[in-house]
Amino acid sequence: MIDDMKLKEVISNVLGVSIDIINDNSSPDNIDKWDSLSHLNLVMAIEAEFDVELTPEDSMDMLSVKLIRMILSDALNN
């Protein structure tokens, strides 16, 4: 299981947005600060925080919070 609160905190810190507005549907579509540069920072922060190694494909597929959780749990289970 992924610590949902921990994930939201990482996203909130990296993107500089309030934790309250982050939900499953959060994505670059609705968070202006989630651009291609901050996305790389986000991926690196997730790797560090959850102690996991992600592939370039994983990074490209992390198109929403819901997807981040799915990909992260795949990576943690392998």
């Binding site: 994505s27 579509d29 597929d61 198109l63 819901k66 997807l67 799915m70 990909i71 795949d74």
Partner: protein
């Protein structure tokens, strides 16, 4: 052209009134007094005014253009030999007889004879008339049918199949679930009688039939394994004996998609899909195209895949290879059968959530949705809507396309 035979003839009578002669003089400025002045005519030895000979040709023009051969005819050549005068107020009878016909040139040679009231021949000649072909006949018929029903005014109520007095029949393979089911329901709501083909799941097929019938439609469920020639033959016989026709065939049956690494793909993996997609399509065309040719109308629609556009997704070599083969066959039908009124098209949705794709991981589906410009996966209903469009009578010019239902440029 076939309706005109050697020896066929047509005649009509006209009265060359004084009014006609005067109008012709006005129109042509031919005021030669022999045509319009009775005393002058008498002074030259005629009892009454002699009508303009060309008036006879005007009536002849009317007959050729309006009656025989009729609208669309082009009068190419005419010889004229006037034998006796036609007087004002005479009744003349013009007789046309087919003396020659060339099917290849679509030209009729007509003998033209004109008789007066005493049955004496006043004119003898020969006409050549070209029968023109309606280059957009199907479209015009469709537009007229739509106009009859006022459907062009109200696109919301546009039920394409209702434009035809004969209720069209559509066969949908693999219709017991997924996209096939959605297509069957959509076509039924558009007025088609639908055949729900299934291989195993008689229960689901029956439920769909019941639900269609309870909402006022007409449907039957028929079991057939699309890869078995005799199954399709028997199914086609059942459809023809029940409804006497099958205007639309939609091939959506497919084995579930299995992801296999390309280096591990065996020919058997490919032939599993080839059998259903390609062999099934060939058997369907074999059994249903003859009746479509007779009816001068048919629609073949094959389900393709968005994997055909650009680089295919990993692990789908077997599936993509078979669908690509089917696309080649689709193009051949589109090219070779369109002149019979039969169109063939492929419809290629991107990843749709159905039983077919149950083995594809949820994460892949989620990524696919987020990569779509509209941020969602295509639904079976999205695809059904566009398939129904291709099935319509008005879609005769949409042929040989692979329609992407992908929400993005391909």
């Amino acid at each position: 052209m076939d309706e005109f035979n050697l020896g066929d003839s047509y005649s009509d009578k006209f009265i060359v009134t004084e009014d006609v002669v005067n109008k012709f003089a006005d129109f042509s400025s031919d005021f030669n007094p022999i045509h319009i002045d009775q005393n002058f005519a008498k002074s030259r030895g005629y009892s009454r005014q002699v009508s303009h000979g060309v008036i006879q040709l005007s009536y002849l023009s009317k007959m050729i253009g309006m009656d025989f051969p009729g609208p669309g005819s082009i009068w190419m050549n005419q010889t004229v030999n006037w034998l006796l005068p036609v007087f004002v107020e005479d009744t003349i009878k013009i007789v046309l007889t087919i003396k020659g016909r060339s099917s290849s040139a679509k030209i009729l040679t007509l003998s033209v004879e004109i008789f007066n009231e005493d049955n004496k021949k006043v004119m003898q000649g020969e006409a050549q008339v070209k029968i023109t072909k309606n280059l957009s006949s199907q479209l015009n018929n469709e537009i007229n049918e739509l106009k009859d029903l006022n459907l062009l005014q109200d696109s919301k109520e546009y039920l394409p199949n209702k434009s035809n007095s004969t209720q069209r029949v559509a066969l949908i393979t693999g219709a017991s679930r997924g996209i096939g089911e959605a297509i069957a329901r959509k076509l039924s709501s558009n007025g088609f009688r639908v055949v729900i083909n299934y291989r195993n799941d008689a229960n689901s097929a029956k439920k769909i039939v019941d639900s269609i019938i309870s909402s006022g439609g007409d449907a039957i469920a028929l079991q057939a394994d699309i890869t078995i020639s005799s199954d399709i033959l028997i199914m086609s016989k059942k459809i023809f004996s029940k409804w006497g026709r099958c205007d639309v065939v939609i091939h959506s049956a497919s084995p579930p998609i299995k992801l296999i690494k390309t280096e591990q793909v065996k020919y058997e993996d490919i032939s599993l899909y080839l059998n259903t997609h390609l062999k099934g399509a060939v058997l369907l065309v074999e059994n249903f195209s003859k009746s479509m040719i007779q009816n001068k109308f048919g629609r073949f629609i094959f389900l393709g895949s968005a994997a055909l556009y650009g680089a295919p997704p990993q692990g789908m070599a077997a599936y993509v290879t078979a669908k690509e083969a089917l696309w080649g066959y689709t193009k051949a039908i589109a090219t070779d059968m369109a002149h019979y009124g039969i169109t063939a098209n492929m419809v290629s949705p991107s990843l749709t959530i159905t039983d077919l794709t149950s083995e594809i991981p949820a994460r892949v589906k989620e990524v696919e949705a987020m990569k779509s410009p509209v941020r969602r996966l295509v639904t079976a209903e999205d695809t059904a809507y566009h398939v129904a469009h291709l099935c319509a009578d008005y879609s005769g010019y949409l042929n040989g396309i692979n329609l992407p239902i992908t929400s993005s440029p391909v």
